[in-house]
Symmetry: C3
Subunit: 308 residues, 3 copies
């Protein structure tokens, strides 16, 4: 389903990714919003490097995706990652504005939706992230629903996550994905995870226990002519999880603070995450790093299996 | 708009359907969830056989669609229908999981959405069912909306129904279809039907009075390059209907029971249908069978007209 | 992305548009619902002629789109516009029913959604209108959301408007477009406009200050393989605007009247617009005409820039 790359598209591959494409090696896409907006420096740089190292260890090639000065980069050289990790004021790009950054020669970090678009365009079918966007709490009033969900319904990329960020409305996120026909597969568990926690109290719509089975499922979808990607929910390893009962207390407190301080719109998510960071004395960030690494591992295994 | 069948897709045609494809005869797709989840044995088997017989009488070939042990069947032999009618624990497959059943070698009955996908893949453009899924009552809170509606917006199959099941929110279902650009055509009436009843109290967005006109409309959509199918609402024959005023009382009581007994999620629809079966002393099932037969008749006529 | 025109599609080009297509000249599509349903005769005819004249002055060719007796017209001769401006009982066509009017040999005016479909089919990529449809106030209860928004997510046409009609729910309309990945670009301002007013109190998601930059952005989207159109919001010129604070009073009164008189469904929008016309002593209509003319000007400039 990869479209031919237009000669006018300002796209550059890292050396490693370009070589991987030539020899047909497995590649795992990585988003850059997690680097620019998700974690503070220098933790974000350490995380980005460690995730890339994990993917290489597993026999695949990492392709961190970002727009730098109007160029779409598929894979960043290490110095570029270091620069990105310290940049401020970069755009946060989604489906609506990734081409805007290219056309206007801006720099921007790619969200899940934009990373899926870029990965698909570059022929990459597996992508590791932390948590996807979803239906926001209160969306029945605000209609605030992440473009990540629509992208899963359209673009044929397997997205490996630890579930939607648990500050979102998880039951409504699952309903939305069901309506759109997006498969939600929990890896090796019947319980749908909740980002920092191994379960959300909801059963997973589907469950598979090997990278090969996931690869096989996606191939079968393509043979049936079904568009779009799938969401793999990979529960954070037990030793790193913050149990659901505990997280619900922190999330409840953070939501109450946001209401008290009248935080609205796009400011809500960073406010809540920061609040939870303080309420957990930094544990939430450690868990976040552990789950991204865990997802990178599984994504690499799936990418290798897709090549078999 | 039919895509080439991949040699790797585990798909099998019944003898009758295979022969019909060779000679270009009209074919009508049928779903299998109505057999496995919609009615008890042996009524479900009788219904399935009678519906197939009606389609043959009208000069078309029936293609009941199901996944059996990981094989996508387009058309079932009579012994397979008999087996399916007595199977328990089969999956209920929609867009998100039809390929999952194929990949994991499971068995599953196809909902409206999955039947549309399979029919379209097999080059079949007309499909008869009872009622489609829709926007659930309370969806403004739960976001519980059937994937059938999205499928109508994507997949070029004419779905002949008696309207959405009347336990759903019919006004919201029509709004959703309007937003998605799905034509809703009531056959030979200006009143939009409500499954067991010939009218819902709502005017139909569109109305046509002959199978040829319906076929002609769909062909014109394809010539304009408009994707997706259309919903034909075929009111149940008068002698079989349960009038709206009466049905609203039963539906109201069933909804009250569901609330009292705290039935939620996927259990709600079967609970309501069973409750209504008892409240109507079985009449609701007789009406259901009559309307499916009535839809099979019209679908066959449309399939014949599409071939002209 | 233009599909080949089927020989069976009843489509006719005006002489001017046919010649423009042959020589590759820039063309701007125009909708016809604004003529048949948006303004009374003879003001509607004057507006239609003035808008076409503005487009010609700017070096592009106007293509007013309508269905007349089952023929899809891309560009109307002046006598046809005059006839259309006085016709009554014409259908208001959207994605769901534009092909219905063709198949049933009816006449109908095209809404934003249907005009986008027809324009795209005819190879026209820029379209000027007044205001687009959007999420209706109360849609969190009714699900009443215009098909125009979905069309923007699918069909590659640049729609130049003065924002959504301000009687709609503008914040929810922006959320819906964000979820669907539709770019919303305000021309030469950071403030998102509200049809009669130059600002809505909301920041625009994106902003560009030249027709060339808009053309460039759309081209980049196509090179990235991103489907769909974009919404250009072009604030009404200052000398013609009715300031937001003032409009909010009129809109509030009109909404209160609609509630008092129990106006519902499709009758709400015309009721509100008529009410506002009287409350503003006709100023709302003058502003409406001024903003359509302003949009025609910008659309022509974008169409010229797309040809560079
Ligand atoms: Mn949002
Ligand atoms: Mn549901
Ligand atoms: Mn509406």
């Amino acid at each position: 389903m990869t479209k031919a790359i237009s000669p006018l598209l300002p796209i550059v591959y890292s050396k490693e990714v370009a070589a991987a494409k030539v020899r047909g090696a497995p590649i795992v896409a990585l988003e850059s919003t997690i680097i620019t907006h998700g974690m503070p420096f220098p933790g974000n740089l350490e995380m980005a490097r460690s995730v890339e190292a994990i993917i290489r260890e597993k026999g695949a090639v990492p392709a961190t995706i970002a727009v730098i000065d109007g160029i779409l980069h598929i894979g960043l050289e290490d110095t570029q990652i270091a620069t990105l990790a310290q940049m401020t004021g970069v755009m946060k790009l989604s489906r609506a504005d990734i081409a805007f950054a290219l056309a206007e020669r801006r720099s921007g970090a790619t969200t899940v939706a934009a990373t899926m678009i870029a990965a698909s365009r570059a022929g990459i079918s597996v992508f590791a992230t932390g948590g996807i966007g979803g239906v926001h709490r209160g969306a029945e009033e605000s209609l605030d629903i992440s473009a990540d969900l629509e992208e899963l319904a359209r673009t044929p990329v397997i997205v490996v996550s630890a579930g939607p960020k648990a500050i979102l409305d998880i039951p409504k996120t699952l309903e939305f994905l069901e309506t759109r026909g997006v498969p939600v597969v929990t890896y090796d568990s019947e319980e749908f995870p909740a980002f920092w926690s191994r379960d959300s109290g909801l059963r997973s719509p589907l469950s598979l226990s090997s990278p090969a089975a996931i690869a096989n499922f996606q191939r079968m979808r393509e043979q049936l002519g079904i568009e779009g990607g799938m969401l793999i929910a990979n529960p954070v390893p037990e030793e790193h999880e913050i149990p659901r009962e505990e997280m619900e207390i922190y999330i409840g407190r953070a939501l109450a603070s946001a209401e008290r301080e009248e935080v609205t719109g796009k400011d809500v998510t960073p406010f809540l995450l920061d609040n939870i960071f303080h309420l957990t004395a930094g544990r939430s960030l450690k868990t976040n790093i552990a789950l991204v690494e865990n997802n990178a591992r599984l994504a690499a295994e799936i990418a290798v299996a897709m090549n078999d």
